[in-house]
């Protein structure tokens, strides 16, 4: 490797690094949201290494409030709440992201295929996704989960994939509809590119921001719905997760006993993680549509009219 190419590479690396940094910090909401999401991802990844090996292990201190030994108190089985919250992050974060990815992948395939081909393919797929859109998801998830004999993350992931893909498919379909007659698609068609290549290598990259927004929205849905299903006792109750913690807290009268440290932390974590993801989403919205930005100073009226480029 010659010196010049090496320097050029370093320079382009710096350039890419700077661009990445600018992208991440250009919008305060995105920065904040990413920081929150990263924090929870870290907790999920390495957190369990720092707490006792079995967060479900019963202990001698029953239902004590926050103290030095138990920063977030203990449950009525003597389990350490902080340890449970940290270990529980793993299930919630992993399940949320994996299921979110799978559901979004389905949404991308259905939405793009339906929008690109049109005709009876579009009619059929749209009808299909619209039906899933109007069917109430959680009741359907409850029915599915109550009939499936195996309780656990797989069941919940399956149920939430089935109920979580349709909104993204609908949004991506209309996005694809507006793209499919653009010049670059026509050009690709003229050069004889096959349909699947046009869909996934020409159209898909140009609507990646919409896909990311759908992905984040789906992850929020999955994390909230997962907690709901687990709270109803439809998850694996022997494993440690935020939803299962809330289930046990509810079933052991934590409210009546006034043990707030048992049910406040897991729900708070869900809300913070969800809000972090929502912030990233709104930030992306603002980057894509500058008019939505919160104006810091100056009179709103003068800035309202944005001239299209």
């Amino acid at each position: 490797m010659s010196i010049t190419t090496a320097t050029r590479e370093v320079a382009s690396d710096q350039h890419a690094g700077a661009r990445l940094r600018r992208m991440l910090t250009a919008n305060g909401k995105v920065t904040f949201g990413l920081a929150v999401v990263l924090f929870f991802a870290l907790v999920a990844l390495v957190g369990p290494l720092f707490v006792s090996s079995n967060a479900n292990a019963f202990g001698p201190d029953i239902g004590v409030g926050p103290s030095a030994a138990h920063p977030l108190g203990t449950t009525s089985y003597g389990q350490d709440v902080l340890a449970q919250v940290i270990v529980g992050a793993r299930v919630s974060v992993a399940l949320g992201f994996i299921t979110g990815f799978i559901a979004t992948a389905i949404a991308v395939i259905v939405g793009l295929v339906s929008g690109y081909y049109g005709g009876w393919i579009d009619e059929t797929l749209s009808m299909f996704s619209n039906v899933f859109l109007v069917l109430p998801a959680l009741p359907l998830a409850i029915v599915l989960a109550s009939f499936l004999p195996y309780k656990g993350p797989l069941t919940i992931g399956f149920v939430l994939t089935i109920t979580g893909w349709s909104w993204g498919a609908r949004v991506l379909r209309s996005q694809t509809l507006s793209l499919r007659n653009r010049e670059f698609v026509t050009a690709a068609k003229a050069t004889g590119e096959p349909g699947w290549r046009i869909i996934f290598f020409e159209i898909f990259p140009s609507e990646i921001s919409v896909v990311v927004a759908q992905l984040l929205g789906t992850i929020i849905y999955v994390i909230l719905a997962e907690a709901g299903l687990e709270f109803l006792g439809l998850g694996d109750l022997n494993s440690v997760s935020w939803g299962a913690m809330l289930y046990w807290a509810g079933n052991n009268d934590a409210l009546l006993l006034g043990w707030w440290w048992w049910f406040v932390p897991p729900g708070f974590c869900i809300a913070i993680l969800g809000a972090g993801l929502a912030f990233v989403n709104f930030g992306i919205d603002e980057i894509a549509n500058p008019r939505l930005r919160t104006i810091k100073s100056g009179r709103a009226k003068t800035a309202r009219k944005v001239v299209a480029p």
Binding site: L135, A137, I142, L144, A275, T294, I295, R304
Partner: protein, 329 residues
């Protein structure tokens, strides 16, 4: 009209899909829950041959071909025969008739309240953009939008119910003093018991309407006709309400319809926290008792309710949007 007809066809297909899902889920589930269930019922005794046969039809334990089973199932539904509860041999239609009014009243009132308040807040925040309210309300509402309904409900029960003892937080009315009926005392008791669950649903769902309205309102405010209206010297109020908000509300009504299912889901969980005597509470009791006829019947009625509400939102859209109204079919 064409728009409406297409929507109605969609709802009919959705209804058919939910009926069919209800039919297929017990049959496709691995481990054959139906057989296990029937065996359990048989062991416990107390099932008449007719009741047993009805159960067999419902769960596909008969040897009939699947299409015949499907026909029997649908014909049972058409005769409003949703089966009987395993838990107390009560017809499922009675369970629905008893519990549905509670959920309809609770969810209906809180949904309308949160939609109205959220939309008005969204209009205001978009209009006075850049003011303190925007920078404070936006993050606050983003956080609210991510709170699980049932967790907020738990917090309310703990704070306002048990600790401060301001409001009742358990059940639908004062069961020791009143019985359900058309008496004023019962009505006030029910209203009092509904405050906390309603507050949960309003707070849980308001952020979505507010953020959605803010975004469409901001987009609308930069339209030329709004600028024109301002240039003509129309009053600010008029520009804000009849020029901008009037047009910005259309996408919000669409998202209102689409997120109905989400709100209904949230209110199911809310009912459970408050032991509210509605559909959601009955559904979860059904799940706990493995009371499949109740689970399926309630799922159907929830679906029908959501589809009907969607249809109403469509009607509202047609009334509000002259372009759809004028469309020739």
């Amino acid at each position: 009209m064409r728009h409406l007809i297409r929507r109605v066809i969609l709802y009919l297909v959705a209804l058919w899909a939910s009926v069919t899902l209800n039919f297929l889920i017990p049959r496709l589930s691995p481990g054959d829950p139906a057989q296990a269930l029937l065996a359990r019922r048989q062991r416990n005794g107390g099932l008449s041959p007719a009741a047993l046969h009805a159960l067999e039809i419902q769960y596909g334990a008969t040897k009939d071909p699947i299409l015949t089973q499907y026909g029997q199932y649908v014909s049972n539904l058409l005769h409003a025969n949703l089966g009987t509860s395993f838990a107390n041999a009560e017809p499922v239609s009675h369970v629905i008739a008893r519990d549905l009014p509670w959920t309809l009243a609770l969810v209906g009132v809180s949904l309308i309240l949160s939609f109205l308040i959220g939309t008005i807040l969204g209009v205001a925040v978009a209009w006075w953009r850049g003011a303190k309210s925007d920078t404070i309300l936006m993050p606050a509402f983003t956080f609210l939008s991510a709170i699980p309904y049932f967790w907020f409900a738990l917090a309310l029960v703990y704070l306002l119910g048990y600790t401060l003892n301001w409001l009742p937080s358990n059940g639908g009315y004062d069961v020791y003093t009143y019985s359900p009926g058309w008496s004023l005392g019962f009505f006030f008791s029910a209203a009092q018991y509904a405050i906390l669950p309603a507050l949960t649903i309003v707070v849980g769902s308001i952020a979505g309407w507010m953020l959605g309205m803010r975004n469409t309102m901001i987009t609308t405010l930069s339209e030329d006709y709004v600028l024109m209206a301002e240039a003509k010297g129309l009053s600010r109020r008029r520009v804000m309400l009849t020029y901008a908000a009037r047009n910005a509300i259309l996408p919000n009504i669409t998202s209102f319809a689409l997120s109905l299912g989400f709100v209904v889901s949230g209110s199911l969980l809310t009912e459970i926290v408050f032991n509210y005597p509605g559909i959601g509470y009955a559904l979860v009791q059904g799940v706990e008792n493995k009371d499949y006829p109740v689970i399926q019947g309630l799922f159907l009625i929830i679906t029908v309710a959501v589809l009907l509400a969607n249809f109403l939102a469509d009607l509202a859209y047609v009334i509000l949007d002259p372009r759809v109204r004028g469309e020739k079919g």
